[in-house]
């Protein structure tokens, strides 16, 4: 028989850096989950993505057991990585800090499509490009047409 779900917890945690402090501690602790067990597992599973922000969806069951799914980093974090910069522009309207290509935008859109509020890669690309512009990252060239 499937276990009864007691709750879903959505967090974003840096790879390898889960610890029992807030928000992990209060969110899991309140449900009677062994927080240390979650941290050990999350950190072991994210050793190769240490330091990168990773969305995680934790399912807690009524017997206080849990499982979780780790997603890829948010689009903005992936854009910084693609542009090889540490942070976006403090004044994105005036100061452009980096460039990415439409191929890079497409790769991020394809990766994040399941988490985005859109149905096609093209609309995903437009959203990612919008995020890039808001960060002061320019997308090189024109939107690719098929």
């Amino acid at each position: 028989m499937a276990k009864e779900v007691a709750g879903l917890i959505k967090l974003q945690i840096k790879g390898g850096a889960a610890n029992p402090s807030p928000p992990v501690g209060p969110a899991l602790g309140a449900k009677g989950v062994n927080i240390m067990e979650f941290c050990k597992q999350f950190n072991a599973r994210t050793q190769d993505k240490a330091g990168k922000v990773l969305p995680v969806v934790i399912t807690v069951y009524s017997d206080k057991s849990f499982d979780f799914v780790i997603k890829t980093p948010p689009a903005a974090v992936q854009l910084l990585e693609a542009a090889k910069i540490k942070s976006g522009s403090a004044e994105p309207n005036r100061v452009k800090v980096a460039q990415v290509t439409w191929d890079q935008v497409k790769a991020i859109a394809e990766d994040k499509l399941p988490d985005m509020n859109c149905f096609t890669v093209e609309s995903g690309m437009k959203m990612v490009a919008g995020t890039a512009r808001s960060m002061g990252i320019t997308v090189k060239g024109d939107f690719p047409s098929n």
Partner: protein, 279 residues
């Protein structure tokens, strides 16, 4: 450890929620939660400099078209794991060892009895890695041996080693709460001569160890490997855990580069212990 919570309201939320996360992740914040009104960001108070945050994020440079407000709150340290810790099951490592809390009926114990109250530290035996490491200790002759437990958590492995006859025994942990807890736990088990130190591996000034235990994670173990080699005597044993079966080959390769020979691997539900001997 004290944590700072920033409760940030955004309008519109997207894409600014993603952007603020990407910025704050570089400014001392470790974890985030999202909701329909914005983002909450959490980082150790000691790692966050709000002046820097204001200068280098949209918190201090609100872009056109975005309405942003935020509040900050310091969250004092507390035992978030208290609910689980008040009511956990005892752990039996085959018939060799029973790890109990003070609230358990001690008469149910089989084999060696070790009492642990974790106080948000790792090491109650519930985790496969602690269970395997404990089991591995029973296969060793520890009489009078010098033992070091790196990342000692509750102190459980050092305590088991001591009860198996180890001589000079030392534990280290980077969490202050864990060191305090390990000292409490040795007292619960009528032991007073294990030295627990706060800090990373470099706080260990002793060497010539016969046995070194490290249940941490892959990246830390890889980084520590040369130091483990330096701290152990020739023929000394190293037991590593805190990783998956799929990580074993990578760690064995690095261990070999640092002068270790693989003795064996123990597995439980995907988690692994590697047993090595220093050449």
């Amino acid at each position: 450890m004290e944590y700072l919570e920033l409760d940030i309201k955004l309008n519109p939320v997207s894409p600014w929620d993603d952007i603020i996360v990407s910025q704050l992740a570089e400014l001392g914040f470790e974890s985030f939660t999202n909701d329909k009104t914005g983002v909450k960001a959490y980082g150790p108070t000691a790692d966050v400099n709000m002046e820097e945050v204001m200068a280098q994020s949209i918190l201090g440079n609100v872009p056109e078209g975005l309405t942003l407000s935020f509040t900050q709150e310091v969250i004092a340290e507390q035992n978030w794991n208290a609910t689980w810790e008040a009511d956990f099951e005892p752990v039996f490592v085959e018939d060799k060892l029973t790890i109990l809390a003070p609230f358990h009926d001690a008469s149910i114990a089989k084999g060696m009895k070790v009492e642990i109250q974790p106080q948000m530290s790792f090491g109650t035996g519930h985790h496969q890695t602690t269970w395997l490491m404990s089991k591995a200790l029973f296969a060793e002759d520890l009489q009078g041996k010098r033992v070091l437990d790196v990342g000692s958590g509750t102190g459980v492995l050092a305590i088991v080693a001591k009860k198996l006859g180890a001589g000079f025994t030392m534990g280290t942990d980077i969490e202050e709460g864990a060191v305090e807890n390990a000292i409490e736990n040795q007292g619960r088990n009528d032991i007073n001569d294990i030295t627990f130190l706060l800090g990373d591996i470099d706080v260990v000034k002793e060497d010539n160890f016969d046995l070194l235990l490290a249940n941490i994670n892959k990246n830390v173990l890889k980084a520590h490997m040369p130091t483990y080699a330096a701290l152990l005597k020739s023929g000394g044993k190293l037991k590593l855990s805190g990783f998956f079966e799929s990580d074993v080959d990578e760690l064995v390769t690095i261990a070999a580069q640092n002068g270790f020979t693989k003795e064996g691997v123990l597995l439980k539900e995907g988690w692994a212990v590697i047993q090595l001997i220093k050449n």
